[in-house]
Symmetry: C3
Subunit: 163 residues, 3 copies
């Protein structure tokens, strides 16, 4: 019988898999049907002036470089909502879906996107295909923002448990 | 001190626990209060014709065989929303709750339900009771669908980390 | 090569990290802007009389003792929604955010809050900072409830995988 140890050692600088993608969201404004990648499903509440309560569902392209016009290498699909009272911040639950020669599989992610911090770490809680049972961290960095029209996030994917 | 290895080997064909349940959802239509197991909380947006943006909250029975009328062995409770632009697909976050002689405990799940694929793998991210701290994959297969009235999914539960 | 074993042994009574916080939610009623910590983003559906379908987004203080007026030691940010038909129960997805001398980092949580049970176990699916890659259980206990105005939950945080 194998006795499981609570204490694990992992060097945050040495993930077992590491790559970067760029996430582009263009919000639907009623007319940009062809280009839009996301739609507001709940307008902000009147609670506070930080977009509190706004919910957005997205099906957004992932690219290898920073250009929205590059060929997508995957998609990010899921939900975010604004949930901070005193600052502007959101909370994400979504999947990264890949079906290319480089990556085939899905990475599932959730966590807080504290927009006042330069980088934010969310949890990779599982995956399928090339990412079967993976765990790790995805680090978000806002690169370009023209709210409410468009924003781009760098997503740095670091897996610390690979199978 | 125990040095944790990044690289784990697990045979996807040999889960440490494996069973199948059937999930039945009957959408509330305003009058079927007794039979309904789910309600739309957000109608689709006008963004696209793939139900994009529709959100559904459910409290749906789980059965051991395919009949909606069988005695439930548990319940699935949570949320899904349609989040695909070019195809019809949804994203789930939910729990499987069991309280029978066979299983006692909860399994927590999230991930993408790509409805154009015959089977879809979602992540089991944790659990309680018999499923304490479990991780694994649940594979969904649509078996019967009469949207918007009713659909049935086979859910094949495979745990790869058991405690 | 390291052969991973499926079977892990962990004593639920011996977490590698353990502490308790108190979560306070004051629902926005249209006028209590200064004190409110949460807002309803979806009213209950007409499906059933158990608040089914109501969704709430929160940015709620965490305290070390039971007083709402104590200095917060962190915040809980995320979403819950009522998803039980025959009883009143909700489903949570949220983060605990700490930035004090005691704790720095984030814990990500999801799971069912079966309000008819005295205590409910949700899954800790990941974390950052002091809680890098953590997994565990958070046990909720309702301590004070004056719905729809205010409720307080004890959140007992138990990590079983620490890095």
């Amino acid at each position: 019988p194998f006795i499981f140890s609570h204490a694990k050692r992992t060097n945050p600088d040495k993930p077992c898999k590491h790559f970067t993608v760029y996430y582009h969201t263009v919000i639907f404004n009623g007319t940009n049907t062809a280009n839009a990648t996301a739609a507001v499903v709940r307008e902000p509440t009147k609670f506070w002036n930080t977009s509190f309560g706004q919910m957005v569902i997205f099906d957004s392209p992932l690219t290898k470089d920073q250009s929205l016009l590059s060929t997508p290498i995957g998609r990010a699909q899921g939900l975010y909502f604004y949930d901070m009272k005193m600052r502007v911040g959101s909370w994400f639950a979504y999947s990264l879906l890949f079906n290319s020669t480089e990556h085939k599989g899905i990475i599932n992610i959730m966590g807080a996107n504290l927009m006042h911090e330069e980088t934010r770490d969310l949890s990779i809680v599982g995956g399928t295909g090339d990412f079967f049972m993976a765990r790790g961290i995805v680090t978000l960095r806002t690169e370009d923002v023209d709210i409410p029209r468009y924003f781009r996030l760098q997503m740095d994917v670091k897996l610390y448990e690979c199978y």
